[in-house]
């Protein structure tokens, strides 16, 4: 009897694997998405219309995730040059013709849908870098390394010209991670980091005035309590006043009295921390950490080198989203405009993140089918 039970359990797993879905990942994602909609309901002053819209986007993201999971990663490898090239062109197009929203040209209007091509780049760039480099074991030929370098610098420059510093940093670090996991030697890594530090003063000159202001503000919060430091100060008051227990769902006073600008998007974490308290924060962070661990596990177990590189890089991108966002709203980093993954209101980010989890599911499930 016990043996049979075991058999049954195996079959069950086999079923999910057959449809290429990773049950653990899906479960945690579902939890985060559901609580995300609840937080959004409160942050939007109980605007059901907004919540439904975000729910639909999450639904689209989940469908896309399942579709991506059906696609073996070899297909991604085959098409990545075309996708990357196309997206790079689109970025150029956005820069030339894009729809300016809040002073930055990030949106491309396709008539039926508006999306941010720069968000998509966070997924596509690691794919392309992995395609370029996955054949080479520890030693990467110099021309390949140069090609990868240019592939990273070009989109980063285009996105920072939009100007969208936050996304540019995320795209750059996604590409960098792919390089790192391709086995780039430490000498290169240290060299690049040193060069990066040396270039920093030069970069300062190319920042937009508002970006510089955000950095100076960050360095001295109290100096400008009414200007851009005000946002962070208010966000900290919201978070701090939440305490251990929080003020309760829909009960946040800070968040409902108009201090937190962007409280449904970039600053939604503050709303959550105010209403759900540190216990809510811990739960959310644990869920995020569990997602990361699961994805790293999948990457580590992957048979294919390409799979490992993209698995680890995409997971890191997810991490950098949440880390930058939370560090930003708590005043540990300057305000750069990065959404809280899976929770912030907005379409492109949730869809691309879920799609990248689809790729991870594909890595996990396709490999297993080959084994059995």
């Amino acid at each position: 009897m016990p043996r049979k039970e075991h058999q049954f359990a195996l079959d069950e797993r086999h079923l999910l694997t057959q449809v290429h879905i990773d049950g653990i990942l899906l479960f945690i994602l579902g939890l985060v998405l559901t609580s995300g909609l609840m937080i959004l309901y409160s942050a939007s002053e109980q605007n059901m219309h907004l919540v439904i819209r975000q729910g639909i986007r999450a639904g689209i993201g989940l469908v896309l995730m399942i579709l991506m999971a059906q696609l073996p990663t070899t297909a991604l490898r085959r098409y990545s040059p075309a996708i990357f090239g196309g997206l790079l062109l689109t970025l150029l197009l956005v820069l030339l013709t894009g729809d300016a929203s809040k002073g930055a040209q990030r949106w491309l209007d396709l008539g039926f849908v508006r999306f941010q091509p720069s968000e998509l780049m966070k997924v596509v760039l690691p794919l392309w870098i992995a395609t370029l480099l996955h054949r080479y074991r520890a030693i990467i030929p110099f021309e390949r390394f140069m090609a990868a370098g240019i592939s990273i610098i070009a989109p980063v420059l285009l996105i920072s010209m939009q100007p969208d510093l936050g996304t540019a940093i995320l795209v750059g670090s996604a590409g960098g991670m792919a390089l790192f996991f391709s086995g780039l030697s430490w000498r290169y890594i240290i060299g690049i980091s040193a060069l990066g530090c040396a270039m920093m003063p030069l970069g300062w000159h190319h920042l937009q005035p508002y970006q510089r202001q955000r950095i100076t503000t960050f360095l001295d919060l109290e100096k400008d309590p009414l200007g851009s430091g005000y946002q962070i100060l208010q966000s900290r008051i919201a978070i701090g006043s939440g305490g251990w227990q929080g003020k309760g769902w829909l009960q946040g006073t800070q968040s409902h009295l108009d201090f937190l600008p962007e409280r449904t998007t970039d600053f939604i974490f503050s709303v959550m921390a105010e209403e759900w308290g540190l216990q809510g924060v811990l739960a959310l962070l644990s869920a995020y950490f569990a997602i990361i661990l699961r994805c790293f596990y999948i990457s580590m177990k992957a048979e294919d080198r390409f799979d490992r590189i993209i698995g680890a890089s995409l997971t890191f991108t997810f991490f950098s989203y949440l880390f930058i966002n939370i560090a930003m709203v708590t005043g540990m980093l300057p305000v750069v405009g990065v959404p809280l993954p899976l929770i912030s209101y907005g379409g492109t980010s949730i869809v691309t993140i879920l799609a990248s989890f689809g790729i991870l599911m594909s890595i996990q499930t396709h490999k297993q089918r080959k084994l059995f």
């Binding site: 074991r137 520890a138 006043s241 540190l278 490992r308 708590t330 540990m332």
Partner: protein
Amino acid sequence: MIKAPKRQPLRDAFLDRSHDRKIFTLRLFLLTAIILASFIMLIAHMYRLQITDHSQYITKSSRNRIRINILPPPRGLIYDRKGKLLAHNQATIRISIIPEDTDNLNQLLEKISSSVPLDSSVLKRFHERRKMIRGSEPVPLLYHITDQQLATLSVDLANLPGVVLESHIIRHYPNKETMAHVIGYVSIPDATDLRQEPENLHYGSIGKQGIEKYYDKLLKGSVGMQQVEVDAHGRPVRVLQETPPEAGADLHLTIDLDLQEAAVNAMGDYTGAAILLEPDSGNLLVFVSQPGFDPNLFSSGMKSSQYRKLSSDPLHPLFNRALKGRYPPGSIIKPFMGLLLLSTPEIREAMNPRGIYCPGHYRIPNYKRPYYDWKRQGHGWTTLNKAIEESCDVFFYSISLKLGIERISSFLNLFYLNQKTGVDLPGEVSGLIPSPEWKSRRMNKSWFPGETVITAIGQGYMLTTPLQSAFATALLLSKGKGYQPHFLAKVGGARKTTSHHALPIQISSENKIPPWAWGQIQQAMVNVVHGKHGTARGLGKELDFMMGGKTGTAQVVALPQDEVKHPPTLEDHAWFIGFAPAQQPEAVVAILVEHGGSGSKVAAPIAGKILQAYMKQKNAS
């Protein structure tokens, strides 16, 4: 070029592969460690914010509330052409409620109504507003309260949590009825206004009629805003940000308050309109529609009973007759018909030098029905000049068929009688010059010669407004060149004033009006007042200056010619168009008295009084 990796022996490959895997796994662990450290860092930071510094932030949060105060701009003032104030702003107190600070709103409203009566329209407006304003901001309840009500409320204020008394500006019109139809009025924006322009919520009042509406954008200015941090009790702690309001521009009008008053007095109890226009500039100096109404009722939000009374008044005081009233012009069309005759050489030259014989009636060839002259015994031989002076109908009956309706209607169109003048007031309507084409389009019927005959004396389908009549007369006396009638003279901003440039208007020269013809018609109109047989000779005798004009008596309905008794609403409309001085006209008037009867007996004396006031003022300066 992508070089394919060299095939290696299986063992090497395995070794290499595991080496590569080792590197990957090592790096993955490294990254995991970094990520774990980052999470710990975040949690430590959150712990400090939410646990260690919690009490500090909770105090800050309870103290920290922001209120946006809207700073409404003062509305621009309106002056007449001599700088007399026609509309200004007065400070009053209004009662507002901050819904968030009340425990039970309905109970509170009940309490308030014990000292200040709240009628249903006030409550309706309040509830409409409440939906559009955030709960932490005051929602206006009552805009106008008496000093005594204010006193009782102030005493009670401590027991009425959420009630605030706010200073508030309301519009005041010192001249009341006299200027009502020019200035119009403002009112507290209602639900419709807010739907059209949500921004209106922040303005105490918006233009609803007249100059106030037409130039609302100029007058209203732009709203300022003040971001105030308040404590838990709503007391302001500090002003975070302030954008001061921008005052609306002051308007200087062409209207002349003294003349306007003279015109209102001259109109007396008659219902109708009086307009004085300067033909050389298009300036409107007098613009009266009687009866008027008190625009102050609107600006402070009148009671619904008051509004019902105004709108159901049989004399329709809210109706702007000078701008929107359409009346058959009657005989005041004759000078224009005369000008057409002089401009049509083939008919003019074929006429008998003695003119046309008037036996007191006219028959269209081959038709039986006679068209009577107002003078049943007839005018005898009548020239054009005599026809205008004595207002001979038969003369115009008989030339009308020779001229033809097409020529008549296209000629009258030149004088803006079939289109809006474009005056700077909202809601202007156009008169109507009929034509066979119009009739077939409108009624699907063909045109009859009899209709041409009565069109020639301004009856039938033809309609004009008092403003159009005044403007057409101005064009007639300025030989076809003039300016669009207008009220705006100057816009005075906070820093600079700009003069208004009226649109020049010229009658198209394709219609060959001989240059001498204008003068001949003008002289004929002078004879109407000063000639031996002029229809307004009674007026001429009383004047100490020379003027010209034309009387008109427009039938409302075709009454049987000998019926004497009929209700006053069927009485004829009395018209008079006139000008002064006789030789160099500087002012043109148009008077209409609804159901006033004879133009010469009723309308002409009013015109005389207004022109007399104008001449007196002119000679004094």
